[in-house]
């Protein structure tokens, strides 16, 4: 049973990794990335690594999405508030 679980988790992880890469809009990608972090956490616990699963949960579900969203927010705000000097937008 453990083997079947590991195979399922591996397939799920590979699927989510591909999905993260293929989601082109960064804001939507952040949501998918958060799900990918959960998939990794399940895989790590199945590989008998609870410490690593906890680390991945802590980093992958809150910190990285928050940083990504804040970066998107900063970039977007900059684009709208200060129209490009070279008239590109």
């Amino acid at each position: 049973m453990a083997d079947a679980l590991i195979v399922a988790a591996l397939v799920l992880t590979a699927f989510m990794a591909t999905a993260v890469v293929l989601t082109r809009d960064p804001a939507r990608q952040a949501i998918v990335l958060s799900g990918y972090g959960l998939a990794l956490a399940i895989l790590f616990l199945l590989l008998q690594a609870p410490d690593v699963a906890m680390s991945q949960t802590a980093v992958g579900t809150v910190v990285v999405p928050l940083i990504v969203i804040l970066a998107i927010h900063a970039i977007r705000r900059h684009h709208t508030r200060e129209p490009d000097r070279r008239g590109r937008e």
């Binding site: 679980l5 989510m16 804001a27 958060s34 959960l38 199945l46 998107i72």
Partner: protein, 87 residues
Amino acid sequence: MSPLGVALPAAFALLVAGVFPCFLATLRGEPVDRLSGLILAGPAATLVLLLLAAGFGRPAYLDAAFLVALLSFAGSLVFARFLGKTI
């Protein structure tokens, strides 16, 4: 089959029939629709981890499940806070 013997098959079933559809929901549609999939994926993943802890007979693994339960919710708050403004 002992009660704990059911835990691993149950975890498998929940992983395939519970977590996977939630992840599918994060892959399509507007950010709001995706977010609902993510919010649901948190508890589903928590349940999978709980069943794994039971199936492996390791109460120590419950710490990981606890952390997922708390932080997946906090993580969806992050997105909810910026919903409509940035995403």
